[in-house]
């Protein structure tokens, strides 16, 4: 037993040594959120070295953190996943007094339940955008305006949909259920039936941003949902003309927040980093790299050219309000995921 304890503590020491030491920040985030174009100058100014690990989906945060702590200092889950991070005890409260630009952030984001618990904030809003739909210009004489296009026989074999529970949100809206984050079992079953009906028309459910770009570039699909501003920009670089649109049935919105992993020894660097990300450097940095809208309109106004400020809907609260901002599904997450899985199983 004594030996075992010794071995365990040696192992623990080795593991702890492998984790972030002072002056080093390990962030688990989306591609572009720790881009060299703005991280380099932060590293020089702050003396904090940034190591970024990238996730491909919001579903990657929990498994990575559940597998053992001590590795990451900061994470950036979307607003449908932040609550899970809090409930699972992966993150610690934010000292909002240490966040310089806290008062500049859109009030709508600070009002979100998903980033607070018991009177404390756990997330610092950073970026936002929509999940619009996108079509290839040369495939349509009359541009599509409704989700019905994704169920039309004429486009059979040319349709793609994100391989994600959000497929249910899409189908539910087509069914007329706008309460997409609070669907009853019957409404979920109806959405499932709608997706099964669509399945023969689907070429491929896309799983990663790069895959969707390949599907358009290879002439495989002509219509799908997308991460607003991101894949369309990558396709434009390849000379493929696509147009994003918000269908009559509405679109979802997302918002990503910085969260501090519980027990991080690098609090000082973490707050320096968050402050940089909310400043002009970080806000325009990420907007330029990913094409996303940002959470601090004051910084955005200062560093963006007016056209970009306009294009990213930074001064357009109606646009933001028109989006069905993702919500945590809580205990319903399992039911949603299983319903989507059973669509794919058929």
């Amino acid at each position: 037993m004594k030996n075992l304890t010794l071995t365990t503590s040696v192992a623990a020491l080795v593991l702890a040594g492998g984790a972030a030491s002072a002056q080093e920040l390990n962030v688990l985030t989306w591609e572009g959120y720790a881009d060299d174009s703005f991280i380099k100058s932060f590293e020089e100014a702050s003396g904090c070295k940034v190591n970024a690990t990238y996730v491909g989906s919001n579903d990657d945060f929990a498994p990575k953190l559940a597998a053992g702590g001590g590795v990451y200092d900061l994470i950036t889950p979307s607003i449908d996943t932040t609550q899970l991070m809090i409930d699972a005890g992966f993150v610690e409260p934010i000292d909002t007094s240490k966040v310089d630009a806290w008062g500049d952030i859109y009030q709508k984001f600070l009002d979100q339940d998903g980033i607070q618990e018991g009177g404390e904030y756990y997330g610092v809003p950073y970026t936002w955008g929509s999940i619009p739909f996108m079509y290839r210009n040369d495939a349509f004489d009359t541009p599509p305006t409704s989700l019905k296009a994704l169920w039309s026989d004429d486009l059979s074999g040319k349709i793609s949909l994100w391989d994600d529970k959000s497929a249910l949100y899409v189908a539910a809206r087509l069914n007329g259920n706008m309460n997409i984050y609070d669907l009853s079992d019957d409404e979920l079953a109806a959405a499932q039936a709608k997706l099964v009906e669509q399945k023969p028309l689907v070429r491929k459910y896309w799983a990663t941003a790069g895959e969707l770009v390949d599907l358009y570039a290879g002439g495989e699909v002509v219509i799908s949902n997308t991460w607003g501003g991101y894949q369309s920009a990558l396709l434009a670089e390849q000379g493929i003309e696509v147009t994003e649109f918000i269908p009559e049935e509405g679109a979802e919105g997302w918002m990503d927040s910085w969260m501090v992993v519980k027990g991080t020894p690098n609090t000082e660097c973490a707050y320096k980093f968050i402050n940089m990300q909310l400043s002009e450097l970080g806000q325009c940095g990420v907007a330029n790299v990913n094409g996303y809208s940002v959470a601090n309109p004051v910084a955005a106004k200062a560093c963006m050219p007016p056209e970009q400020f306009e294009a990213l809907h930074q001064a357009d609260p109606d646009y933001l309000d028109s989006l069905l901002l993702w919500q945590p599904l809580g205990e319903r997450l399992e039911t949603y995921t299983n319903t989507w899985n059973s669509v794919k199983a058929q």
Binding site: S57, D59, D60, A62, P63, A66, L84, D87, A88, G157, D164, K165, K199, V202, R203, K204, Y205, A207, D214, G218, G219, E220, G330, E331, L333, E334, T337, N338, N341, S342, K344, A345, Q346
Partner: protein, 289 residues
């Protein structure tokens, strides 16, 4: 000198001990962890320890799991049959018909060489061959068989079987080639002396003696395809989900490690059953030469 005697006294233990330790640490312990998780229960936000068979019950009663399992078995069987149909004649040709040793080695290596190329790359290449604007479509259009590109080659189960067959066929060729090569040439001559035709010789002598190779190859290609999750991801369509993909989703999106573990245990049992069946089959067919 102390060290020397220590080493000589304990060398046997070290030689055996290190692999045993390795097996315990990296195989038995993880299997134990997996088995333990499979009795736990999903409870928001994560999962809690328990001892219950609910996860296994879900796998049996929710039709989606049986559906995916049957599809996976079907795909694995098709891949194994296709590999066998291609690999056997090829190996037979190499061993019995090809007289030139250099060409034989060259052709054999030609089949084995792709194993040195990244699996992911090999699967990915099929996308560029089978795609709507891919090589196959351009070729068919050039020779005038079709007028416009067809989507029937990619993103369906056909593409999955094709890709997996290509990827796993070396595992079929190698054991069959070895089995055929071991058959003494004088058996064929004796058979001819006794008035047997080429076909009867193949049917009564060559095929039975090569069965161990066939069984080994079949088992390997079957088990490898059974656990694959890259092919459905890269070249499979909406109806291409296999067991391993469901498992990925249980450990990720659904955050239901207990159910994922139960699925892994079921998969492990299926694979072990296949291996032990094939082992028995191989033993029963063994002939002393």
């Amino acid at each position: 000198m102390m060290g020397g005697t220590f080493l000589s006294r304990h060398s046997a233990k070290l030689v055996l001990g290190i692999p045993i330790l390795w097996i315990v640490l990296f195989m038995l312990v993880p299997y134990g962890v997996l088995l333990t998780y499979s009795f736990w229960i999903k409870k928001y936000p994560l999962f809690v320890p328990a001892f219950q068979f609910g996860n296994y019950w879900t796998l049996l009663t929710d039709p989606q799991y049986v559906q995916v399992l049957l599809r996976t078995l079907k795909i694995a069987a098709l891949v194994s049959v296709a590999s066998l149909a291609l690999a056997y004649p090829f190996a037979y040709f190499l061993v019995f018909r090809l007289k030139n040793h250099t060409i034989r080695v060259f052709l054999f290596m030609g089949v084995i060489a792709p194993l040195w190329v990244s699996y992911l790359l090999r699967a990915y290449v099929w996308k560029t061959i089978l795609g709507t604007e891919g090589i196959l479509n351009s070729f068919l259009m050039n020779i005038g068989i079709i007028d416009e590109p067809s989507g029937i080659f990619l993103y369906n189960q056909f593409a999955m079987v094709l890709t997996l067959t290509y990827i796993f066929i070396p595992f079929m060729v190698m054991p069959i080639y070895t089995a055929l090569e071991k058959i003494p040439g004088n058996l064929g001559e004796a058979s001819a002396d006794l008035g047997m035709g080429a076909f009867a010789t193949f049917w009564k002598i060559t095929l039975p003696l090569s069965m161990p190779g066939v069984v080994a190859g079949f088992t390997m290609t079957f088990c490898l395809s059974f656990g694959d999750f890259i092919a459905p991801f890269l070249v499979g369509g909406p109806d291409g989900q296999m067991v391993a993909n469901v498992m990925v989703s249980q450990f990720g999106a659904a955050l239901n490690w207990p159910l994922g573990s139960a699925l892994a245990v079921v998969m492990l049992i299926i694979v072990l059953t296949i291996i032990s069946l094939s082992d028995r089959f191989e033993q029963s067919g063994k002939v002393e030469l």
